[in-house]
Symmetry: C2
Subunit: 468 residues, 2 copies
């Protein structure tokens, strides 16, 4: 009782821990309500839960020191990047300490000859790409928002370029991370490939801060293509668009991006971005290569598109019209949001084998038609991944329940088609309930790994794995 | 004492286990000396150690049953595919049961629309590619030898196509595996990407049978390119060749293969394959794409090659000259072997960041020049990976010691350059001594994973991880 009654730096943390953290970090340790509230939630519909304190870490060594202190007190630790999470990853479900890594935002080294760069976890992809531009290089992974590269690694993020360049799984070379004991490790060397032992890099990519805390990331870079061109093309039905994409990928055309927008999304984009696209299921393409190469790719896709009932194929070869198109694609979040200004966007995230994409979407369209709120759809169709945007009033329990039921049916449909409940957003706390359905007894293997690497259960508890 | 004295089916196995395995498998359980000897070694210089018995498994369920029986008796289990291992992976260092998976050789399904296939672990890459040819598809990973796809997954293998298509790390979609408890799991679904939990697929790829036994593999497939062309080009020095490759990759030319052969290897190839290549450091290129695309790639590389002092650039656009060239590359093993017919080839396998490749090779050339036996060099230079072929008499302790010293210096050199001791062959028992040097405290994380997933230590003991 004494500890509670005492005026302590943090109401929830053991006073000795709070004092030690303050000793370590000074004013970069805080229990202010505003800081705690800001760090208790991502960008999604999930209710937030604030941590007891926030630590703004400056170095890997500081992260290690914080972890060692928290381990002594068995206090939960939640790593935090930019707070762009969509599945409640940063919710402090058991309180504890949030480690904010956003001040660890140095690009440590860029090696053009090796096509890689090492950055601190808090560097955003925009910041890295801005640093790289003059070198003629870029980092292709582009989830929405100003995500940090550490956060992107932790959730195995991807985006519109994955069909050509892969996801964080393929583009992280090596990680520096802090273990649950506060030890600093490097997961592997910087060679492009290695067969030396267990793939700790890939084990930590997608582990959402539950196995270790990622503090530095070495990523692969790519030369900015000599030429880029884009095209847009609409179809009588979603199935035609999907069938074209399957044909394009099978014929080995190295399309850099291919994005599907449904009628609702096209309408939203037309309104928001002042475009005049045909209000029909639409594909946005982007081609990377040499001048001749991108022309050839666009011509081949245009010829194929005619076979799949395309209603028109508009090339956007010049940078202005291409940028306008892709800016519109990147603004779909805001465009869709504008359809119901006070709503919150619940973004679903199933991913299925590409052969199952058309049936999965077709079966989902009845749900879209019957919903009591607007629902948009965009798809990274080259990967079999698509998002419904459910525009709900999160304060209305009926809408929340209706959205949850739509998501639940969608996930079960995807799993029946050998797909996954999340292509790129992660499990967080929001999708734990699907883990057993998706993975069966493999969940026990995951649990053993978690238990082995975090026996005290202090690393982002209540995330990824079901607890019973 | 009683058990030892009794005539038992296996001299080394507990009689109850031997009886149970024989009951399960009938004549597919054997303790014959020939079978045991055949299964106790791979293709390398490593001394063999025979298992106490060999089980020819027919199904995943049988593998699970074998593991459950062995777990009861705490008997070691060594998985075996084609026996093409180069680092003592299949050596039964503690006896026990070898599970031969080569009879599990069914291609279970090929899905052209998803560009993937599911095969049993014992299917070889040649068998799969032969099945795929009529569909216009191929599986690109091509280590030397008739390796099984299960073995290739277990060692995270690659080969000459990795620069374009990646390694087994990038090309395994999903695995079916048997855990140390004899439970059957599937590591993930068949979607191209997923953020649903820990990446068990990548955890098992490269784990060399020490965390689970891989019984089925779903791999990515690719369309056979519309056009393929090849070229060969020699240089005054290895460094010119390497610098060209760096420039080619940086300019984003999607070269499918680029292989370096040193003077000794070119000489061997000329003799063995009746070619008349210039006896100088030489690059073999292969280009995949459309007709126009491969022409453009070859022309761009030819223009670049001139800047790097190429002594000639010979295109081999027609299938005959291309196949002759690549057949010669694939036969380098035999060609080099023929330089010293009774020798055994010790193949080193370091991989470094590509910027470190030229210095790493340059520093290695003194060792090559000073050696008392012939040494050849071939490199998957686009990946920074190269192999020395040390032609030694393995019965001569001085030659073995000299080879070990050369390999040791080479590995330390690669590690100093932020590289790895093995780019594609694996650790097995042969490179355990370098694990701490390469991974530092990350070895403890690997050890915790091993302990969690195989607490009895029965899965391929004595491999991958140091024991002290």
């Amino acid at each position: 009782m004494l500890a509670r009654a005492q005026p302590s730096v943090s109401s929830g943390l053991p006073p000795a821990l709070a004092a030690a953290l303050e000793g370590l970090l000074g004013r970069r340790f805080t229990t202010s309500a505003a800081d705690r509230e800001h760090h208790g939630r991502g960008e999604s519909y999930h209710a937030g839960l604030a941590p007891d304190a926030v630590c703004y870490a400056g170095t890997t060594e500081e992260v290690a020191a914080i972890v060692r202190l928290c381990a002594v007190h068995r206090t939960p630790i939640v790593p935090f990047g930019a707070g762009t999470s969509l599945e409640g990853h940063v919710t402090a479900v058991r309180g504890g300490v949030c480690i904010d890594l956003s001040r660890m935002n140095a690009v440590l080294s860029v090696r053009p000859e090796d096509l890689d760069a090492t950055v601190q976890a808090g560097v955003t992809r925009q910041q890295l790409n801005s640093d790289l531009r003059d070198l003629g290089l870029f980092f292709p992974i582009d989830p929405g928002g100003e995500s940090t590269i550490g956060g992107m690694a932790a959730t195995r993020a991807s985006g519109t370029n994955a069909v050509r360049y892969g996801t964080m799984r393929e583009n992280v070379v090596s990680l520096t991370a802090v273990t649950a004991e506060g030890e600093i490790i490097r997961t592997t060397r910087r060679a492009r490939k290695s067969s030396a032992g267990y793939d700790l890099t890939r084990l930590l990519v997608g582990s959402e801060g539950t196995l270790a805390i990622i503090t530095e990331v070495t990523v692969r870079l790519y030369g900015i293509p000599e030429a880029i061109s884009a095209a847009v093309c609409s179809f009588p039905a979603v199935s035609n668009a999907v069938d074209l994409v399957v044909a394009v990928i099978q014929s080995g055309i190295p399309v850099a991006r291919v994005e599907l927008l449904d009628n609702t999304t096209v309408r939203a984009v037309n309104l928001y971005s002042k475009l005049a696209l045909n209000e029909a299921p639409t594909l946005f393409f982007e081609f990377h290569g040499s001048q001749a190469g991108v022309c050839e790719q666009a011509e081949t896709v245009e010829a194929l598109a005619a076979d799949f009932g395309a209603l028109g194929f508009i090339a956007a070869a010049d940078a202005d019209s291409r940028n306008r198109l892709w800016k519109a694609r990147h603004d779909t979040h805001y465009a869709v949001q504008a359809l119901r200004p006070n709503a919150k966007l619940w973004s679903t995230d199933v991913c299925v084998p590409i052969s199952a994409l058309a049936p999965c979407i077709a079966q989902t369209q009845a749900d879209i038609a019957d919903a009591s709120f607007p629902i948009s759809m965009v798809g990274h169709v080259g990967d079999g991944n698509f998002h419904l945007g459910l525009l709900i009033d999160p304060s209305d329990p009926r809408e929340l329940a209706e959205a949850a039921a739509i998501n639940d049916r969608l996930v079960r449909r995807a799993l029946e088609l050998d797909g996954t409940c999340t292509g790129e957003h992660g499990i967080g706390s929001g999708k734990i309930k699907f883990m057993r359905l998706e993975h069966g007894p493999a969940v026990e293997m995951m649990r053993k790994v978690k238990q082995a690497l975090d026996p005290l259960g202090i690393l982002n508890p209540g995330k990824v794995l079901p607890e019973d």
